[in-house]
Symmetry: C2
Amino acid sequence: MVNGYDGSRAAELPAATRELIARRDRALGGAYRLFYDQPVSFVMGSGVYLYDADGNAYLDAYNNVPSVGHSHPHVTETVAKQLGTLNTHTRYLAEPLVAYAERLLATHTIGSVTGNAEAQAMFTCTGSEANDLALRIARHYTGATGVIVTANAYHGVTAALAEISPSLGPGVPLGSHVRVVPAPAPGVNFTAAVAWAISDLERHGLRLAAFLADSLFSSDGVLPDPAGFLAPVIETVHAAGGLYIADEVQSGFGRTGTHMWGYQRHGIAPDIVTMGKPMGNGLPIAGLAARPDVIEAFGRQARYFNTFGGNPVCVAAASAVLDVLEAEGLPGNATATGGYLKEAATRLADLSPVLGDVRGAGLYLGIDVITPGTAGEPSGKLAAAIVNGMRERRVLISATGPHGNVLKVRPPLPFAREHADQFLTALQETVEAVH
Amino acid sequence: MVNGYDGSRAAELPAATRELIARRDRALGGAYRLFYDQPVSFVMGSGVYLYDADGNAYLDAYNNVPSVGHSHPHVTETVAKQLGTLNTHTRYLAEPLVAYAERLLATHTIGSVTGNAEAQAMFTCTGSEANDLALRIARHYTGATGVIVTANAYHGVTAALAEISPSLGPGVPLGSHVRVVPAPAPGVNFTAAVAWAISDLERHGLRLAAFLADSLFSSDGVLPDPAGFLAPVIETVHAAGGLYIADEVQSGFGRTGTHMWGYQRHGIAPDIVTMGKPMGNGLPIAGLAARPDVIEAFGRQARYFNTFGGNPVCVAAASAVLDVLEAEGLPGNATATGGYLKEAATRLADLSPVLGDVRGAGLYLGIDVITPGTAGEPSGKLAAAIVNGMRERRVLISATGPHGNVLKVRPPLPFAREHADQFLTALQETVEAVH
């Protein structure tokens, strides 16, 4: 795994850390991974900082879940109040759930392709559950099973999603109904690749249920440009009778700055949109929005009850997140600080032999790490050194992409210019140190 | 769906309720269902009571999620404190997660069949995610795909679980690798049925990955007796190379009174145990515990990261639940009140032509509703009338079983004798009124 702890430097760790890792290895299943050569432990979070037990502040340029900032008081207070009042489920009638669904749906542009813009929502606890449900809905609607994803896609951890998530690696086989297309990088005719995958499915007697894509192609290395390149893809998918599922778990809730949702940067209207990570600022809430005619077949044939999905406490958290996004103008800040960060990182990359292309939208940046002296050859090894070097300088990032060489920078949205400067100073020091 | 609102009595509802239902139908996908002929809405919960907007108290004899009681102050305070301090994820090192895993594992008796008793834990957000992960683990370990479940089993809502959950109805097809056995009712040789299903799988070229069962067979109609009948089943499953997965989402965390886990009533040591609903008293946390040799293959071939799974806030809630279970002696109360309730309900059933068999363990009761004058013919219609009649008397229950005729009684665990008496009085009045 990119940025995974492998124990090779365990001898350098404090004894207490080594002991805790040993207890952890005994008590937790081996599929768990820690970050960093030297794992880090926090006791407190506030705004864009995390603090260790010695009171050291780490600048968080990585975590997109606490999107409105760590331990945001409005979220904490709203959740605590609701938790002390009432927590039930969706089989009792509740106005706040309906009101939140209406508020969320008002931010979307779904299904205008078919002239049917009144979307409907369903709630789950995790992005995985949302994508899994979206697949079930797509299969009921289309009567088909074929799925197309990108080469290093990640869509979740359920059995049905693991088999459409090539980034989980060769130990986790893809399904026979799944086709993989190259990521939309320069030189790739992405629409043609999707069309080819559709015809290949059909040659195998399968039809397309859904094309599923993270609107920022995060695990493929952060590929946002040029905005609009997804427009012909959705047409191709629709022509084959398939649905376009926009996975907004990474790109949603104002992260890209200019738009509430990543798909809106591309000017498209997906059939189903899935949401997750930042939705409740860390409280487990996720969900989907879909064309009502798409969702209808599923509702007729199946009932859906997710015990905790859409419960009053998680809905209160999600409402509080929308409150803060609006009140603090966080999407606007994502545009401003994100633009500043991208420009400065590009200047830094121009001067550094180890940094290559810088891409991004709002507060989601991908910075290529390359082997010096080559024409941009990806270096996962140097990227890992930079990620660990940044951790030593108390700045949290990670890496992504098929070669693990793309620095992944996606801080909480209250990230201000001073935080960007702190990040840039640490990055400059680190790249100078590793090369 | 059993106890589902179908709108047939919408005209009797207050205008505000009708309007809210209309808004809900527009905003939420059609797979959602409401309870009762006349849906109910709550604004507050405390202990074993829920309150509507007019201040009416409803005795909650149904909800097993708020297991230590609605809005329990210790849970609320613990969660609020953690939420205001730190909420991250399992890729940073955290002692409380390890400590909770150790505390949870200490309550289990897993894998002693193979002499390997040191179980390991993994955390998810929902029982569905836990069962889905258990299936993935079982398939990696056994290299097989076959699954055996009971006739009206329900194990969750992911794509992989929907196809092993016959209770979701004919609109949701079972997988071709799934075999269904009759529920373990009187007259059924359950072990022989499992053995037959194994041989049928093998005749189709499939091997058994897992036998999966709710230790109380809740959706099959609540079938707890005689304790111990599962012992030969686990031997049969092991002899075929399969794993025994105990689904403790319904029966776990002291609900059965005499034991922390439903499988322990049967004196068996499963290979994997899945947990959910009451684990965080309504905060979304769930997970599994498994033999380390079973979990090992999965950890070698796959990584597992559940963004919110095992996060500090949900783990704090789960720890608080264990605190309260111990401090308030709730499993003991489940035994005492549950025993009282079962005895009194049995006396009531002996006198009533519409009530049949009464079954239960601790505070999980199933009461058969039958057509009067028959030899116990199930009546889903009369059961629905009783459930709705209880709601009119402000006592919450529901119904279950393949015929929808088994009253499902599983209150929060602080249910005391006075609450049992209130329940019994309402039940007596209701059965007299419906017949």
